[in-house]
Amino acid sequence: MWSILQLEFMQHALAAGMLAALACGVIGPLVVVNRLVFLAGGVAHAAFGGIGLAFYFGFAPTAGALSFSLVSAMVMGSITSGRRQRSDTIVGVLWAVGMALGVVLIDLTPGYNVDLMSYLFGSILAVPASDLPVMAALDLLIVLVIGLFYRHYLAISYDEEFARVAGVPVRLLYFVLLALIAVSVVMLIRIVGLVLVIALLTIPAYMAEQRTGSLWTMMMVSAALAMVFTIAGLGLAVAANLSSGASIILVAAGCFFLDLVVTRLRQGMGRPSGAAS
């Protein structure tokens, strides 16, 4: 096991995993408490359109994914923040259109055999060293923005209407949050792929919410959990020769259900028998 850590690609994979886990630890709780899970999923899938575009015109896929996820996040945000009705439908449409556009553009790209699987399900073992400083910079951006405006984000997440009356620029903060979600999603696509992004944004945050008394401890605990899941999943993938992204998600999901069962059992024991509903 230790010899495998000597391998350069393995070190890169671990570093990338930790950086992505930090982003999802900070952003995941905000996604969960603001009920933006579906929107985050839509952004992740719409990003695939950008990846297709990048292949067709021959520029970096990460740039394509980032620009598409940013644009789709803004579009979904302006639709959801205005009229709540039917906004989930629009998110669903953009979700599918982004995917379809990506597939068609890759079809049209002449003589190019793109490894679609690595975008759909992640390729943490193929992260180039050059990606690491970019990921670190994006992490710094996320931590800085959320850290500086923590009290504002706490207020708008807890009670948007009260925050608006108090004079907090709710809309601006909301769109900045959406941009940070888009950035995190692109980082996570590298690790677990766009299909599995939602799991890594929500599972650690949900498990952390049950155990913490404040938003920032929820962020710390979810970052720690995301790191543990990534390391364990990566270990499992290497040991059993499985897909890394799917292994990470299955480890996370396993812990999630175990946690759910243990919590239920504990609640059941606290009550008189037969009271469980």
Partner: protein, 271 residues
């Protein structure tokens, strides 16, 4: 397309003209949800340090009126002025207690942090909490009897306790106007009485607007009443007349000065 029909069936009472120190002015206000008028031709002139009760049956537009005064909603026609400005320009001095205390029940946040949200202020100022912030938070929590529970998680509180915390959050703003939407909906009778005597004290320094369907408790504390049922009838006296209630509820309502338990008002609406 909306075609407002400013019917003159019931003209708003002329009301007194508060020459100076008017806190809230509403002129010819209309508001619609999905093409249906919720509020029509509303005129209000509320002097500073009024204790105003906004009464009306469910679905009468009380909460809508409150949100228009707060600047959360924008009128379709007409205008709202608070201290001679658009409400959203002065709303950092509004203390707002929303109706729904069950928002985000599992949200990981402590009582103290919720009340501290009242101290954010306008814009994106980056500042540490000051001594004054801490004092205001403490005073607010003491006033509602929740200081000892300041480190508790909101999720661990009862509905009534959450309501108290949201009242404290509004007081921590150090408001010039306090807007409360059904503040007694989930609190016990003892706190209800405490709350109204607290409001009476606060009323010496601030304007208070309380939305309620609870006629009996309000009648002994309020200085003015606005009855809402799509139209608004303003009375600058604490006396509730049966005629006023009849107009709004469209059914005979029995008036009792201090009556527990609540009477259930039948919802008669002209359609």
């Amino acid at each position: 397309m909306l075609t407002p029909s400013p019917s003159q069936a019931i003209a708003p009472p002329p009301g007194p003209v508060p020459a100076a120190g008017s806190a809230i002015e509403v002129d010819g206000l209309y508001f619609a949800y999905d093409g249906e008028w919720v509020l029509e031709d509303v005129h209000l002139s509320i002097p500073e340090r009024t204790f105003l009760a906004v009464l009306g049956p469910n679905g009468s537009g009380k909460t809508t009126l409150l949100k228009l005064l707060l600047g959360i909603l924008k009128p379709a026609r007409g205008r709202v002025r608070v201290f001679d400005k658009a409400p959203e320009l002065v709303s950092e001095r509004f203390g707002y207690v929303p109706q729904n205390t069950n928002i985000n029940q599992s949200f990981p946040v402590s009582v103290g942090d919720v009340v501290l949200m009242g101290r954010l202020g306008r814009g994106l100022r980056l500042r540490r909490r000051t001594k004054r912030d801490q004092e205001l938070v403490r005073t607010a929590l003491e006033r509602v009897g929740m200081w000892s529970k300041r480190d508790r998680k909101m999720a661990a509180l009862s509905g009534g306790e959450r309501q108290r915390v949201l009242i404290a959050r509004a007081l921590a703003v150090d408001p010039r106007v306090l807007f409360m939407d059904e503040p007694t909906a989930s609190v016990d009778a003892v706190f209800q009485t405490e709350l109204y005597s607290l409001l009476k004290t606060l009323n010496e320094t601030m304007t208070i607007v309380v939305v309620s369907h609870d006629l009996s408790v309000l009648s002994s504390y309020v200085g003015a009443v606005a009855c809402v049922n799509r139209k608004v009838f303003y009375h600058d006296s604490a006396e509730l007349t049966t005629e006023m209630i009849d107009r709004v509820y469209h059914c005979p309502v029995e008036l009792i000065a201090h009556g527990f338990p609540h009477r259930v008002l039948r919802d008669h609406r002209d359609s």
